[in-house]
């Protein structure tokens, strides 16, 4: 009972304190300057005490509506590690002269408490810098004067632009935000679709309203506002993929414009069907596919022997890979045009994969482009042109599909580069027909390892390793190891395997993507066996043992994403040294995580001078949710523990 009252009083105190804060520009308080650490996150190096972002449009006779974004932030810097927050960068688009973005009305002050009195210092001219970063981007930066531990900085500026599209409003930083006020007022002539990132762990409340203005004529404004307290800092976690996918932010997509009579003038995009159509009808997309003359003769020579559609697809994929190299750019639209890409031998993802679609269609194969949002583009919040940033090719034969991305040397049919494996794909048949397709692998990739071990009389171990890798594990192994020298490869293999020497390395099918990758080598391991007293001890997986649980956090806010389902199998055959027998073996064990989403088995048996071990880890569902994290961590930890268990050998009598 008592505690309840205490809580209520504390809550009350906080409310009072919150109310007494003054967030007007320049009204920095002594209390704010005196604060030594953040009340919710004592390790925060800095905190945003207040963030206000206001987006509005005003009408001018010469330019029509112009967008203004007014940003006001007050930041408390607790210690020296927070000093980076005293430097701010504002990115501006350099468009045509009238859409040119400008920063103006920049006011900024640093506040320090000196002998109990607030001293403020203005940002000086020396602290402002502008730099043309590239053809399209200008960076305006400023750095605050007299930044000391405990100081508060405050700045306010306006960015104005003729663009109608609105930048994402970021609602979560790496440091906590105490209070955030957002107000976005858009004229009724432009229709925006507002959405919050559903994957963020913090969800602010959106309030919408409408208001009529008379200036300079009567029209209505749609208003979105957010008023929130205590947004926690975003902290990255291993195996979570792109952490920005989990950042709390508000996106606004321009969907339509009305004319002066408030009648629909232009629609941009509203449904995925329309998005697909808009993209397809672009001259950099659909029209590209129709160009066929420039490759016709050469293509005919390539596919002369192919009869089956999938066979043709694979031939075309190989042909395009040999003719056109990826320049590293993503893109759903053709950058150079497929003809130029073909002639010059380089292009972006769209150039290359639309060329594949075009060639296959010209051969009468049922091929279509599939729009993709790559992993770093995240999962779009709503139908939008920006929701797609990449395109691949799909080939259909009866009920079967083959997905092709010819940008990567070691990708193959249905084995796509990891950047593509995100969300789902949008297959476009023509300008009026499009549909979702699954692009995630449903077939497990398998890595199987045979390890033969002979324990020698001097207690070293020697033997052979042969590995067989399929699908995605083969793709990644080839990507990392096919282009390095054998010596380099050997050195990589020896790394972290203890006192080992590897020889006779053979990497079969290193470039032949139609077959599994195979790896064979021989080894000599000096530190495999411990002789303690008159017994021998060793963990039977030797250098393939997992030594460490990579999941170290006590709890997670974001999922673990292994991306692909896979299976990792080991078959170990051990020949014991003469004069020894097994004294004890680890027990057989089967572990399961969440209805076989992941499974581990450890089987061991002995037969005279031989031991057989079969160990297998299956990740059946590669996406592990935060609620299951603790049990998954425990599952993994037990795998590590099991693999470290020792076999004990004792001397034979006589």
């Amino acid at each position: 009972m008592k505690t309840k009252i205490l809580v209520a009083i504390i809550a009350l105190l906080f409310t009072i304190q919150a109310q007494s804060q003054n967030y007007d520009f320049g009204k920095v308080s002594k209390e704010e300057l005196q604060e030594k650490f953040h009340s919710n996150d004592s390790s925060a190096v800095a905190a945003v005490l207040y963030k206000k972002e206001e987006i509005k449009f005003h009408f001018t006779n010469t330019e029509g509506f112009r967008q203004e974004r007014i940003v006001h932030e007050r930041i408390k810097i607790y210690n020296k590690d927070g000093f980076d927050w005293a430097t701010q960068k504002v990115y501006l688009y350099k468009g045509t002269s009238n859409s040119n973005e400008k920063i103006s009305n920049l006011k900024a002050y640093t506040y320090n408490l000196v002998d109990g009195k607030i001293e403020k210092e203005k940002l000086s001219k020396d602290g402002k810098f502008t730099e043309d970063r590239s053809e399209h981007i200008r960076v305006s930066s400023f750095t605050m004067p007299n930044v000391k531990e405990g100081c508060v900085i405050e700045f306010k500026y306006t960015v104005s632009t003729a663009r109608k599209s609105i930048e994402d409003v970021v609602l979560q930083y790496d440091i906590p935000i105490n209070k955030v006020d957002i107000k976005i007022a858009t004229p009724e002539y432009y229709i925006y679709n507002a959405l919050l990132n559903p994957r963020a762990s913090f969800t602010p409340k959106l309030v919408t309203s409408q208001k009529t203005t008379q200036v300079p004529f009567e029209y209505m404004m749609n208003i979105i506002s957010i008023n929130e307290h205590h947004v926690p800092g975003l902290k990255s976690e291993a195996f979570a993929g792109n952490i920005d996918n989990y950042r709390c932010k508000l996106s606004l997509e321009l969907t339509a414009a009305l004319n002066a009579q408030k009648i629909l003038d232009k629609t941009f995009t509203t449904t995925w069907e329309k998005v697909s159509r808009t993209i397809y009808e672009s001259q950099y997309f659909g029209q590209q596919i129709e160009k066929t003359n420039f490759y016709k003769d050469e293509l005919q020579a390539q596919v002369a022997n192919a009869t089956d559609d999938f066979e043709k697809a694979q031939t075309v994929e190989a042909f395009v890979k040999s003719k056109v190299k990826w320049n590293g750019n993503y893109g759903k639209y053709s950058q150079n045009g497929i003809r130029t890409a073909y002639k010059e031998g380089e292009g972006n993802a769209a150039d290359i994969n639309l060329l594949v679609v075009s060639m296959l269609r010209s051969l009468g194969v049922n091929a279509h482009p599939v729009l993709i949002s790559t992993r770093n583009n995240g999962i779009p919040l709503f139908p939008t042109l920006n929701g797609f940033n990449y395109v691949i090719c799909s080939v259909q034969k009866g009920e079967e599909f083959l997905l092709i991305d010819a940008t990567s040397q070691y990708s193959a049919g249905n084995i796509l580069p990891f950047r593509v494996l995100n969300w789902q794909g949008r297959l476009i048949e023509n300008s009026s027909v499009s549909r979702w397709v699954n692009i995630m692998p449903n077939k497990k990739s398998v890595e199987s390892t045979m390890l033969n071990v002979k324990i020698n009389d001097d207690f070293t171990a020697s033997g052979k390793v042969s590995k067989n890798l399929t699908s995605y594990v083969a793709y990644s192994y080839r990507t990392n190891n096919s282009d390095i020298s054998e010596e380099e490869h050997l050195k990589k293999l020896e790394t972290d395997k203890g006192d080992i020497e590897i020889s006779n390395l053979n990497f079969e099918n290193s470039k032949d993507i139609s077959k599994p990758a195979k790896l064979n080598y021989e080894y000599e391991l000096s530190d495999a066996i411990d002789e303690i007293g008159d017994k021998l001890y060793f963990a039977p997986m030797l250098f393939f043992k997992t030594d460490e649980n990579p999941f170290k956090l006590e709890k997670r806010d974001y999922p673990i994403d292994f991306v692909i389902p896979y299976s990792d199998k080991y078959y170990v055959n051990i020949m014991l040294p003469k004069g020894y027998k097994v004294e004890s073996l680890p027990k057989k064990s089967i572990l399961e995580f969440k209805d076989a989403d992941a499974k581990f088995s450890y089987m061991i048996s002995s037969n005279g001078q031989y031991l057989q071990l079969k160990v297998q880890l299956d990740i059946n569902n590669p996406f592990i949710l935060p609620v299951d994290y603790e049990s998954f961590k425990d599952f993994y930890s037990r795998i590590v523990e099991k693999q470290s268990e020792q076999i004990v050998l004792a001397k034979l009598e006589g």
């Binding site: 390790s43 925060a44 210690n79 020296k80 590690d81 000093f83 005293a86 430097t87 000086s124 020396d126 602290g127 810098f129 730099e131 043309d132 970063r133 590239s134 053809e135 930066s141 750095t143 004067p145 007299n146 930044v147 000391k148 531990e149 902290k235 190299k325 990826w326 320049n327 590293g328 031998g345 380089e346 282009d483 050195k491 972290d496 203890g498 006192d499 000096s526 530190d527 411990d530 303690i532 017994k535 001890y537 963990a539 030594d547 460490e548 649980n549 170290k552 956090l553 006590e554 004294e583 004890s584 680890p586 930890s637 590590v640 523990e641 470290s644 268990e645 020792q646 076999i647 004990v648």
Partner: protein, 636 residues
């Protein structure tokens, strides 16, 4: 930390490009004609390079260069070197590149306007006024060949193009030629480095040809590439740095020039600040104590920021401005600290150095613009004290890990002077780990661990106190990654800056550490300081090797065994002595079912011949093996 004008380092790389178009034959474009020995350790081969540097006057240098590079694989793409940094004092007269296929057929021509043109600003910097143009080319196939021609006029002659016929690992050179045409009769200072180890011909004065230099393979523990590759260093004895003229016969001259032309007049500070520091130090007689107070004053008042403006990024921001704004870069902060110290009668010198974990020296024999960082030196009878002014947290006089053990230039009013910075010995770079461990009968344990570090090891550990609790916990889970299922219960960190000791007290536990086998528990007693990495094996090591810093670790762990188990087997210990250092561990049974594990490991800095690498590796292999030593407990 401050890295002065990265672009100069880069432009030196890029300077090594070439010129005359008439003397090489067509075969330089054909990848099939490369001699096998040049291909074996190479990602790219410089087929033909000719660079002519014309000294027009003391404020103008013209470089005309032609370079033909064959690239064998994707790792070789960067060796095309078709990059040009520029600013308002660097004029690009010509830039053009041609691409050839494997057989030497031209497949593409890239004109100057087709080069990418971007700001050369680096991520660490808030502002730099440089730009860069570079060739952005996606290769169709390997191998391919690029010819890159350029002509550039430099108005800043303090940086003179050097010649490096190879400047990286896995790069070989078929033909590289360098020639200086001195039309201004300005005296040159030159220095040939490592020429004796490479096939280089001196055609005439300041005219060289290198032919058939084979690629160098990178190996671990290799000293810096700078000390391996051939290099022709050049500087003008009379030069111009953007309007400021200078004389450079030796370090004394050059240092004097820096003092007079770059530093003089930059060190005024307001009277109020002078009064403040005087007030702060009043009654303190000892010079060093006064310096400590002033250093702390500066640390609390300022912060580091990278801004690259002013004379080629070499003139410090004036002290008055630093005082008013509270931020600057390494030059401005060092210069400001110098002014503050002067106000309390502590003399100090502006000191130019190469900053970085790996040790790189200012070449004491060759005066020229060098270094990438500035610190401050307070001369003292016993030992010079060096101050890092860009850090707000660094202890006074502490330089381990960034500017220790290397030559530096003191910029004194009477001229430059080369000194060597503090060397931290094994005894200076200590780590002492002690632990009390209670093992339970399922193989788990609870422990109280204390880690104390000094010197370079202090540098590696400090700063942890500023991490979040979550990240501190993660840190220890990584640091002790040999322990499965580790949970960290309590962390107490203390950064004693006065004595420069970092101390970490950690309470932790694990539910499974000792592995089970039937009725036995197998325990590795070295729980908290295990070496597990063996240096890379080379069947035929080519390069000598170097250990940059000495250190010493001592460990003492007391392990309480569970009641239900007793000791079955335990080694007494081992020791190793080698020229690289020493190692020993001991195991003793003490008291009631208690074990004491003690360990000492010392590694000594030094430069060693490649033949000794195997012995070094064996030394480390043995340590890895002994650190895995196990004891066996059996159920009673």
């Amino acid at each position: 930390m401050c890295i002065l004008r990265k672009r100069f380092a880069l432009s030196i790389l890029l300077f090594f490009s070439s010129f005359f178009g008439f003397s090489q034959d067509k075969s330089a474009y054909n990848a099939l004609s490369i001699p096998l020995e040049l291909k074996s350790n190479a990602n790219a081969i410089i087929r033909y390079e000719n660079k002519v540097v014309e000294i027009v006057s003391k404020d103008e240098i013209k470089v005309v260069s032609k370079r033909v590079t064959t690239v064998l694989n994707k790792y070789g793409n960067r060796h095309i070197n078709a990059v040009q940094f520029y600013d308002k004092h660097t004029k690009i007269e010509k830039m053009i590149a041609y691409i050839y296929d494997e057989f030497g057929n031209e497949i593409k021509k890239v004109k100057e306007r087709d080069f990418k043109d971007v700001s050369a600003v680096s991520q660490i910097s808030i502002y730099e006024d440089d730009r860069v143009k570079y060739l952005d080319y996606t290769p169709l196939n390997y191998p391919y060949t690029v010819e890159y021609n350029y002509e550039v006029i430099y108005k800043n002659t303090a940086f003179f193009p050097n010649w490096l016929p190879i400047n990286d690992y896995y790069l070989s050179t078929q033909h590289s030629e360098f020639k200086i045409v001195n039309n201004a009769s300005i005296e040159l200072k030159t220095k040939k480095e490592n020429f004796e180890f490479y096939p280089i011909t001196e055609v005439s004065d300041n005219h060289f040809i290198a032919s058939n230099i084979e690629g160098i393979k990178q190996e671990s523990y290799t000293p810096g590439l700078n000390s391996i590759v051939p290099r022709f260093r050049v500087a003008l004895k009379a030069f111009n740095m953007l309007g400021v003229e200078g004389i450079n016969n030796n370090w004394s001259d050059f240092g004097k020039w820096m003092y007079d032309r770059l530093l003089t007049g930059t060190d005024n500070i307001p009277q109020t600040t002078i009064n403040e520091v005087k007030q702060l130090t009043s009654g303190v007689d000892d010079k060093i104590e006064r310096a400590k107070l002033v250093y702390k004053y500066m640390q609390d008042k300022t912060r580091y920021i990278s801004i690259q403006v002013g004379i080629g990024g070499w003139k410090p921001m004036i002290a008055e401005e630093v005082d008013a704004l509270g931020y600057s870069d390494c030059k401005g902060l060092s210069n400001y600290t110098k002014a503050l110290l002067e106000a309390v009668n502590v003399p100090s010198y502006y000191t130019v150095i190469y900053g970085g974990r790996s040790i790189r020296h200012i070449d004491s024999e060759f005066s020229a613009i060098q270094g990438n960082h500035v610190i401050l030196c307070i001369p003292d009878e016993e030992e010079n004290i060096f101050l890092e002014c860009t850090s707000q947290t660094n202890p006074f006089g502490f330089i381990a890990g960034f500017t220790d053990d290397r030559t530096a230039l003191l910029v004194k009013p009477e001229g430059g002077e080369i000194v060597h910075t503090k060397i931290y010995s094994a005894e200076d770079n200590l780590q002492e780990t002690t632990a009390d461990i209670i093992l339970n009968d399922t193989g788990g344990f609870e422990a109280d661990v204390v880690v104390e570090t000094t010197g370079f090891q202090y540098h590696l550990h400090e700063g942890l106190e500023n991490e979040t609790q979550r990240d501190q916990q993660l840190h220890y889970k990584e640091y002790w990654d040999n322990i499965n299922n580790l949970s960290i219960e309590k962390i107490a960190l203390e950064n004693d800056k006065e004595n420069i000791v970092y101390s970490e007290k950690v309470k932790l536990s694990s539910s499974s550490y000792a592995s089970k086998s039937g009725n036995r528990l197998i325990l590795q007693p070295n729980m908290f300081n295990k070496v597990s990495k063996i240096p890379t094996r080379y069947t035929d090591r080519k390069l000598d090797f170097k250990i940059d810093r000495s250190f010493k670790d001592t460990d003492e762990f007391i392990i309480q065994l569970p009641q239900s188990f007793q000791l079955e087997v335990m080694s007494e210990g081992k020791s190793i002595e080698s020229k690289f250092g020493s190692y020993q561990f001991k195991l003793e049974a003490i008291g009631e079912n208690q074990i004491k594990y003690t360990r000492t490991y010392t590694l000594l800095k030094g430069a060693y011949d490649k033949e000794e690498y195997k012995a070094f590796r064996d030394f480390r292999k043995q340590i890895v093996k002994y650190d895995k030593t196990k004891i066996v407990l059996v159920k009673t």
